[in-house]
Amino acid sequence: MRTSPADARLRDEIHAFVASHWPGFDRQVQTDISGVDNAYRDAWFKKLFLGQWALAAWPEASGGLGWSMARQAMWDNACAKVDAPRMAMRPGVSFVGPALLAWGSRGQMDRFLPPIRDDSCAWCVGIVEPHQVVGMDIRTIATELEDGVLVNGTKGWVRAAERANWMFTLARVRTSAAVKDHYVGLLVDLRADGITIEAPQRAGPGDRIANVRLDDANVPMSCVIDFGLQSDEPTDRLWARFLDHEHRIVCNTAGQHQRLNLLRERFENGIGEHLSEQLDAAEIQLQAIEAMEVAHHAGSADELSVESAVLRVKRAELVQDVAWLQVQSFAYYAVSDTNELLLDNEGPIGPEGAAGAINDALMASMWVTYLADHRDKLAKQLGIVDEHETTHIIAKTTADNRPE
């Protein structure tokens, strides 16, 4: 088991590119009051689109480089190491484009892929809903009209919605007769009537999340992706992809290494033996996750596999632990609040990152929520419970759980 010479060369090339093109992070100039460094991020992505880096994960036939998962991870890790914005912060490229390539119609690809390729259209992704506790449970309803659908519902945890032009989302279909048991993907123009972006709030360093409400929003048929009635596989896969996509932002292993190192450096003296041991334990856990990732990427790298599910669970739990350690390390300074602070220009209270550490811990705990169904799915995949057993959390869509 070893890295191929070609991959090793690419890794060096990636590191060289990132080192020479990412100027580093100067909080004084780049951070607006929400903590989001828009201008800097845009300048960075522009460079990526000029080179071929932005589209590297796309298939060659669609203008990409056909990078494997292992190569994509190399890229993510190189960026995380220097705190450069992740590709997943351009969800048009990292999520919507590949979804269109997998499930979109010819017409949708022709219309939506070019503006994604040249970065002229900003996308956001709205999959989860505020009421969700375990697993995917979509209650946004698309009522069929003659030439499109009428959409009602609320999407939560939508990253950078306030800066996006379009949203990729998921809804359940309702005809005049009844709710049919299948999902559709929707490409929603956020400037259309009936769309409200509610209360954006900070979701960790450098990003904001918001709820997006759809009240009788009209979506033409040309913007509907029909997954069909035959199988749950496409939507299961879409959900898994969404979780993995979020993880590229919040749970990247190189990013976690970075956080642990920073904590260690800042608190080299006086953090106490026990805390230091906990940092070590987190580091070891992180290495185990990295090893699993490497093996996983070398294998099938299927998002519905057992390995993918285990990785998701362990990554989210680790992030929760690291966020907690961060709070512990900052001692009293962890109690100061970020958002208000940045309104004055005197810089943060206490060490950088202290203000907001508790909010980050809250977000990290929430994130574990969406993986609550994973153990249940794993029990089935591993044959611990019968595939048809009904006590599990995720019952497939049945007549009983049809939305009103």
Partner: protein, 376 residues
Amino acid sequence: MDFSFTEEQTLLAESVSRFMRNDYPFAERRDNVQSELGFSAAHWKTFSDLGWLALPFAEEHGGFGAGAVEMTILLEEFGKGLVIEPYVATVVLAGGALKHGGTPAQQAAYISRITDGSKQGALAFAEAQSRFNLADVTTTASRDGDGFVLNGSKSVVLNAPNADFIIVSARTSGTQLDEVGVSLFLVDVGTAGLSMRSYPTVDAFRAAEVEFTEVRVGADALVGNEGQGFAILEQVIDDGIVAVGAEAVGCMEVLYKDTVEYCKTREQFGQPIGKFQVLQHRMVDMFIEYEQAKSLPYMAAMRLDEGYGQAAQKAASAFKVQVGKSGRFVGQNAVQLHGGMGMTDELNVGHYFKRLTVIDTLFGNVDHHLKRFGGL
């Protein structure tokens, strides 16, 4: 050991509980948090009228001479309602320093103003480098004629933006980590050379970084004997631990009950999510953690009431460790079981989580108190 309340204690518990239930709605609390003051002046007046601000002080200063058990009763109810009024900062910390170490003149001048609600206080004991070590003090107080000159910075001084006076620890002798040589001074906020940078805390209180630049105070500003402030500080902080720990127990009770209620009513996949066994077990574990934390504040309070010493210190540290561990478990699981709804303002889970997490940090986290317990 008798764990039952006296008649007075039962009456106190009922009166606080009634106030929280009837007069402390969450929507109004939210408005008060966003007001300039950051809390309700009217509630503060009520706290005074009901005698809550006078609870721990001696009768000769207009107080009720109540013990730590009564404080625990009060603060546990405060925790359930997430009280935003700066009770701990003013009464337990600043007031506590005067109670345990103040001169008769200081007590006469300040305690009656705390109990009648007209003065707010703050205790400035932490510094940027000190973490939870109360003896780690670099702020200095040098002799200057009859008085002292203070220089240095204090970190995360709770309630400083609203305080009329601050009690600050400063070094009169010794080196940075010496317990001997730490002195406490009472400084009125208007005093020349005292400045601060204010900010909100994640649990919606107010705090400030306080700077002392050539602040001149008289000899009468000294709280306790010169160089002997550490012992006072330690006792005040142990009182503080029991107070916020009791609050944490109140928070945990609300989170546990809210979560059970939520899981019974929130339906997913055709049935209440509370029907899923994996979630039931998590809620049972939340209850187990809450139960473990629940009785400890009374144990610690009784030890404090028996007289301050090693037994009380150990009990306070033990309680703080348990509160930290239980609070983390209950808080994280409550957030997880509420899912995305935990973040919305209509449910308060996020607010309780933040207060619990802040309480874990206040006056020393789990690691700090494990170590202190072992060393005592």
